[in-house]
């Protein structure tokens, strides 16, 4: 039972993180491989604040959100001057920088040793007694994130984001500051990812930099792609699928050392198959494509 709850909690956390990436990547077309960095900043903020300053969990989360949003804003400033492939590369660079800081600033982040003993969260001073209670917390926050994003993408603001994904030049010609919209999508996405990070930190109660590498960013992006870019339900389904997949492998009876490697191979194969046969993912309506052909530059005659 505990084991099943553990998987559900992880699905919940990854759903939050994948939905948050879906806003910039799926709906707006900003493919970022820095999402694990923002997720990590959220995790470290909660871990450090609760452990070193004794700040209660429910205050750590919003602090992480604000801090991550501020950092994402600073990153977006230079990154959004580039587009498509170049944008991916700038986010990649940022991801590497964050990992290096987490891994090397030993006095502050604990370096490769990580941060053990993160206090369990409590709600109104009452510690959450069990996995079941924590699952309820994750589910409640997950639903809140879903409702917030759902509202956002169905608003006039969301309509403009979807239009930017298809044809930036057209959107500009209709009087919209495309860069400001992209910035907003990127910053909101990063800020929501930090919530997932905070939940992860208090749930596992130990974090180290290896949880927030570029591989993790790619894993999150895989959830978005396989679930369906531009579909929030897809992100939840993708998280459920990719998180439970290695658990199924466990039951097949592969030794742990082999299972870990098979897992990586399986993710890779899935991603390739998805790109070849179902580029819109499980639930998405849009093929995942960094270069929609409509995005050509303004032509000259």
């Amino acid at each position: 039972m505990e084991y099943l709850l553990h998987i559900l909690i992880m699905i919940g956390i990854y759903s939050i993180v994948a939905m948050s990436l879906n806003l910039p990547a799926g709906f707006t077309g900003l493919i970022s491989v820095a999402h694990a960095a923002f997720y990590g900043i959220g995790a470290y903020t909660t871990a450090l604040l609760s452990l070193k300053a004794g700040i209660p969990f429910w205050l750590c989360l919003p602090t992480g959100v604000i801090l991550t949003a501020a950092i994402a804003f600073l990153i977006a400033w230079p990154s959004l001057r580039t587009r498509d492939d170049y944008f991916v590369i700038t986010t990649f660079a940022f991801q590497i920088i964050v990992f290096s800081i987490l891994n090397n600033w030993v006095s502050f982040t604990g370096g490769p040793m990580g941060i053990p003993g993160i206090p369990q969260p409590s709600v109104f001073g009452v510690p959450l007694p069990s996995h079941g209670a924590f699952l309820c917390l994750v589910a409640a926050i997950g639903i809140a994130v879903y409702l917030f994003l759902n509202r956002l993408i169905n608003s006039p603001f969301g309509r403009i984001l979807k239009a930017i994904r298809e044809d930036e030049i057209f959107v500009q010609s209709l009087g919209k500051n495309v860069t400001a919209y992209k910035m907003a999508a990127f910053v909101i996405g990063a800020a929501l990812a930090s919530i997932g990070g905070g939940l992860y930190a208090v749930y596992i109660s130990y974090i180290d930099p290896t949880s927030f590498t570029v591989m993790e960013s790619i894993f999150i992006l895989s959830i978005v792609i396989i679930g369906g870019a531009g579909s929030l339900k897809g992100s939840v389904a993708g998280a459920a699928f990719l998180v439970s997949l290695p658990e199924i492998l466990r039951f097949v009876g592969l030794p742990n050392a082999v299972a870990a490697n098979v897992r990586q191979i399986l993710y890779g194969v899935l991603l390739v198959l998805c790109m070849m046969y179902r580029p819109q993912g499980l639930f998405g309506e849009y093929a995942f494509n960094a270069h929609p052909k409509e995005r050509k530059e303004v032509e000259d005659a």
Binding site: R159, K162, D167, V171, L174, G175, A180, D300
Partner: protein, 241 residues
């Protein structure tokens, strides 16, 4: 209303537009013609902020807009269409029009849902104006080529522009649709909107324009009433030579 003074743009030594000056009046249709490579679209792109001129000045309602970003130019009241179709194919026809509302408004204004119903009604009116009311809920990508051209016109109008720049509005559409689009241009002119049209369909542009500007080799070689321009020896040479 729109004043262009000595505007020049070179691309890696290629003189696309050289020292072009002209003014575009409101409540009139001005045709912009010229052989391929004359610099017509480059001029459009400079007015709309997609290219920054190397030198010269562009003023709109006595406000300088040279080098302003495209969204700011659009928000200032200059709408444009493109040579190729630009619509958001997965969004509904109505949503495409609604994209254009509140140009230049802050992000927070775009988040509000309050004005949505009002905007929806206005978008319906604009679709009715171009005759696409029955397609409102269809994805824009499912419209025919001519219908997408009409949709582009509706999107521009949603900006509530004082000036419209149309890049080949009737290129590649059938006779019936051409007549319809030209009729819409006249309607908009009669409402006081200034219309500047690039068009290769000579018959159409001669018929609809109140005034013609002819460009060749990056320069304006003639500017006047269509009948006059037609007789101009330089123009005849540019088209035949």
């Amino acid at each position: 209303m729109l004043e262009i003074r000595g505007v020049t743009k070179h691309f890696d030594g290629v003189k696309a537009v050289t020292e072009v000056s002209c003014t575009i009046a409101k409540g009139a249709i001005t045709g912009l013609i010229g052989p391929n490579g004359a610099g017509k679209t480059t001029l459009f792109n400079m007015i709309c902020g997609y290219h920054v001129p190397d030198s010269g000045l562009i003023c709109f309602n006595s406000l300088e807009i040279t080098g302003k970003p495209p969204y700011a130019v659009a928000a200032a009241g200059i709408g444009r269409t493109f040579q190729n179709l630009r619509t958001i194919k997965k969004l509904s026809t109505l949503d495409n029009v609604m994209l254009a509302f509140n140009p230049g408004a802050s992000l927070f204004a775009s988040l509000k849902k309050g004005k949505e119903r009002q905007n929806r009604e206005r978008a319906q009116e604009l679709l009715a104006f171009v005759g696409l009311s029955d397609k409102a809920e269809e994805p824009a990508g499912e419209l025919s080529y001519g219908q997408q051209k009409l949709l582009n016109l509706a999107c521009c109008r949603a900006l509530d522009p004082a000036l419209l720049l149309l890049d080949e509005p009737v290129a590649g559409v059938n006779q019936e649709m051409t007549v319809k689009i030209l009729g819409l241009l006249r309607d908009m002119r009669d409402e006081g909107i200034g219309v500047l049209v690039i068009e290769h369909n000579m018959e159409a542009v001669m018929e609809v324009s109140d005034r013609l500007i002819v460009m060749a080799g990056g320069r304006v070689i003639a500017d006047g009433e269509p009948a006059q321009v037609r007789e101009n020896s330089e123009v005849i040479e540019a088209y035949l030579g």
